[in-house]
Symmetry: C2
Subunit: 210 residues, 2 copies
Amino acid sequence: MNLRERKKRRTRDALLRAALELFATRGYDETTVDDIAAAVDVSQRTFFRYFAGKEETAFFVPRLAEALVVDAVRARPPGEAPLEALRRAVLESWDAINEAIVELVPIELHMRVYRVIESTPALLAAHLRRSAELEEQLARIIAEREGLDVDADPRPRIVVALFGGVIRVTERLWSTGDDLTLDAMRQLTATYLDQVGPALAGNWHTEPSP
Amino acid sequence: MNLRERKKRRTRDALLRAALELFATRGYDETTVDDIAAAVDVSQRTFFRYFAGKEETAFFVPRLAEALVVDAVRARPPGEAPLEALRRAVLESWDAINEAIVELVPIELHMRVYRVIESTPALLAAHLRRSAELEEQLARIIAEREGLDVDADPRPRIVVALFGGVIRVTERLWSTGDDLTLDAMRQLTATYLDQVGPALAGNWHTEPSP
DNA sequence: GAGGCTAATGACAGCCACTGACAATTGACA
DNA sequence: TGTCAATTGTCAGTGGCTGTCATTAGCCTC
């Protein structure tokens, strides 16, 4: 890697970390792009040459995680049922995600930023839209696995929608809870996915939730 | 109603219709608040006294629809299974929704705006966030119906997430399709909801989708 | 029905996210 | 080392949105 390239990477990382640090401490809306640029001592214009917008800094890390999940789903053996493939892919990709994050920012900072995303309306909206795009991608992968046409058969999009819905519920719960560790997240996700069957059954009262 | 009140209502409706008309013809991003204000011949400042932001005009009608759905869910008999209650509430509230819309803007305009919402990133994000809030509300209603604690039992949030996911898939399909009638929407929703069971079954290939 | 009160509006200034254009700087490479 | 291209800073401008203050317009009382 060039000196030039290295310099660019350093500037980008510095901007990223400065932005996330500011978001986590001061709040997203209370942080201006000028603040971020000033913290790294570059011009505001330079910030916008590295990131398409303020929002992009907040989703830089989540973007990596999404890519890893997509890879994990693609790597699942074709024999598995769709929902099972999604479940295993997500649960098993967290270690890789963790490693990827640590390369870039302190994991603890990322956790704090995650809470900011969930509690800042503008960021939550962006997060949900990104999730919708991810789901579309996953639906196509599932359809291909099963040899189906996404636009003709409703089932791929439906499983993915169900799955995504559960994931989002657990994300929100996790981010508002006390235990911000990876294991807590994994545990919560597994528990909630196990509840999909029971939740669809009509008879909630004959058997209480396990 | 006062002359003053009537004048206010007229100004608000004019702003709303002008905004939606501009969004539908020119596009959301291509429409400035100044354009909207100019079309009604009021100052930009006045626009912001009626609407918290440009976005709010786009979601004024959907907001009414959401309120009606919530009412419909609340009105469901307690005996029904949760998913069934949600399904019936949505399918049966569309007529009321239709009436409420017609009072405010031509239904055909609303359809066109709906397409704009689904195809404009900023609006889609906002739409998804609103949906998430709606789902939280519905989860609380379902939990209450069943005499459960939303924060202790995962099932209310899960059914609603599943349900919401399916609804969103159908919304997207409907908005990108050719048939923008209410009946098409109702039909699509019913069909997709019927697929929830089959989609969760592991054996997609032993029985093709009905 | 004139005059005072209050709510609605317009005009203006300013903040922040973001973009285009151009000049200055800095690393790359012959 | 000098040339070329990439990186950066500066400046000007747009659009969404807000606070402030003076002006206008409906309302209500005497």
